[in-house]
């Protein structure tokens, strides 16, 4: 994999030609495109377009360069810097902006300013964020739920999935009419399934407030697709 460390060294030393710099920025734009596509969603990318305008990728690449220069000591210690290193950094920058509610103002990188800012910032104070924008929390919740649903599909048998769906339809007061087993038998199946679910979800999900959202995702992603309780002739 291509090593970008020489490019980064030249940027830090301010020795890069504008042609090389432009080429490097184009590579970073491609990396951000990949980050949005694989690690986020189209809707999230649209939000960046909405708040930062059509040049949102340019804004983000400037931010990545800013970060590299701010953390130059750490970057220069690495034996090499390949595309994956930059991709991982790009993902964090997207989260950083998402968590700001898009209030981070676009700025051009000015290397002189940066050195001065670093001197002044020796005793920085940080806070645990008390209020995060819903878009940030919802995205992470959705990622966690999708992952849980994948785990369920992988770890539960078809019969167990049927039982889980029976319980969820019951919770939604959508009474399943044609279940093959008797109510008593399926209730026993549910009781047997509970410890396994508890192991997959953890206690908090089963009893916590996110259960509603989880049930909804299981219903749409598993139950409706299994077509379990469709009336039989």
């Amino acid at each position: 994999m291509y090593d970008y460390k020489p490019n980064i060294e030249r940027i830090i030393r301010n020795e890069i030609t504008s042609e090389e710099y432009q080429k490097f920025l184009n590579i970073l734009k491609r990396i951000f495109r990949q980050a949005f596509k694989v690690y986020f969603t189209l809707d999230i990318e649209k939000l960046f377009h909405k708040f930062y305008g059509p040049d949102y990728l340019k804004v983000l690449t400037s931010e990545l360069v800013f970060r590299i220069v701010s953390k130059k000591d750490s970057f220069l210690k690495l034996p090499y810097i390949n595309k994956r290193y930059l991709l991982s950094t790009a993902i964090n920058i997207i989260y950083f902006h998402l968590s700001s509610g898009f209030k981070v103002v676009e700025r051009e990188v000015n290397f002189d300013d940066l050195n001065l800012a670093q001197e002044e910032n020796k005793e920085q104070g940080f806070n645990v964020e008390s209020l995060l924008p819903p878009v940030f929390v919802n995205f992470l919740e959705d990622s966690a739920l999708s992952h849980l649903v994948m785990s369920l599909k992988k770890r539960l048998t078809k019969k167990e999935l049927e039982t889980l769906c029976w319980y969820i339809y019951k919770a939604y007061k959508q009474n399943p009419k044609d279940v093959k087993a008797s109510a008593d038998a399926i209730y026993k199946r549910w009781e047997r399934l509970k410890p396994k679910l508890r192991e997959i979800f953890g206690d908090e999900v089963l009893e916590g407030t996110s259960a509603d959202k989880l049930f909804y995702v299981i219903k749409s992603e598993i139950c409706e697709k299994l077509d379990l309780f469709k009336s039989r002739k």
Binding site: V38, Y39, F40, E63, L64, F66, R67, S70, K71, D73, S74, K77, L78, R84, Y85, L87, S88, I91, N92, I93, Y95, F96, S99, S100, V104, A117, Q118, N121, E123, Q124, G125, F126, N127, V128, E129, L132, V137, L140, E141, S143, A144, S146, H147, L148, V149, M150, S151, E199, I200, F201, G202, D203, E204, G208, S210, E221
Partner: protein, 278 residues
């Protein structure tokens, strides 16, 4: 359309970057660590520490460090997960539900000081680390992987710290555990068959350090180090409800022999409780 599993994708990317070992670099600017600081370990992907507590005996210092990460998708457990934004570095980090003990020298040589957190926020991070449960999915796998990666530095820090304490040459008080108690724990299935995820013989309790050494032909020996200000005070040391020692503390180093023979001492050490009697 099939929904992508972003957590899995991020885990694959992380593994390809991290490899199996933690490669750390020395820092250029060494700043002595202090409580409430946020520091960054010189490695890639970065690992961050919030220093929650300083434990010091004489001149030796050890820090309780809550671990934080840049891997938001992998480390985020629920809406209670503490989030910290570092605007001057265009970085966002989140707390993980565990901590390690690191010695002053390790923090000085391998971590950069980024800034400070206020005490309330440090408590929030500590509460979260104690309370949050590690899930049984890829996120749990990631958290346990990081724990394992940091374990050598954690144990090494505690051992170095204990070795330094040894230099002060405290004369230990030596006690023999009764045969009844020894047999009791050897027969208790909870301890006899317990095997922890990461077997360790060093434990930092709320107010003590414990270490178990296996000495050939003699058996296992437990050494406890208690805080210096407990000297001369009445102390009770228990494992569950069974008293190991009760009396006035004459030295901060206590040794216990005739230990139950267990395959793994993790649970047993965690059951130790040291209390000041009023």
């Amino acid at each position: 359309m099939k929904k992508p599993d972003r957590i899995k994708k991020q885990w694959e990317l992380y593994q390809s970057l991290r490899g199996k070992e933690l490669i750390i670099y020395p820092v250029s600017q060494k700043i002595p660590p202090k409580v409430n600081e946020l520091r960054e370990l010189c490695t890639f992907p970065s690992i961050y520490f919030a220093l929650a507590e300083e434990i010091s005996f004489h001149q030796e210092r050890l820090f309780k460090a809550i671990v934080l990460t840049e891997e938001i998708t992998l480390g985020w457990l629920d809406s209670q997960t503490p989030v910290i934004r570092l605007p001057h570095l265009r970085t966002i980090i989140i707390a993980l539900p565990f901590w390690v003990y690191l010695d002053e020298k390790f923090l000085l040589n391998h971590t950069n000081k980024l800034g400070v957190l206020n005490e309330d926020d440090i408590h929030r991070l500590e509460d979260y680390a104690e309370r949050a449960k590690i899930p049984q999915d890829i996120r749990g796998e990631y958290i346990r992987f990081l724990m394992k990666l940091l374990a050598p530095y954690n144990t090494e820090s505690i051992l170095t710290y204990l070795e330094k304490l040894e230099e002060y040459q405290f004369a230990p008080s030596v006690f023999t555990i009764s045969d009844d108690l020894k047999t009791y724990y050897e027969k208790d299935p909870h301890y006899a068959f317990a095997k922890a995820a990461s077997s360790k013989n060093v434990h930092k309790g709320k107010n003590f350090f414990a270490i178990v050494e296996k000495i050939p032909e003699v058996g296992s020996k437990l050494t406890l180090y208690l805080p210096q200000d407990y000297l001369g005070q009445k102390v009770t040391i228990k494992v569950e409800n069974n008293v190991l020692f009760e009396g006035t503390l004459e030295t901060i180093k206590l040794e216990f022999t005739n230990l139950p023979e267990l395959a793994d001492y993790t649970s047993w050490l965690e059951a130790i409780d040291v209390e000041l009697s009023v």
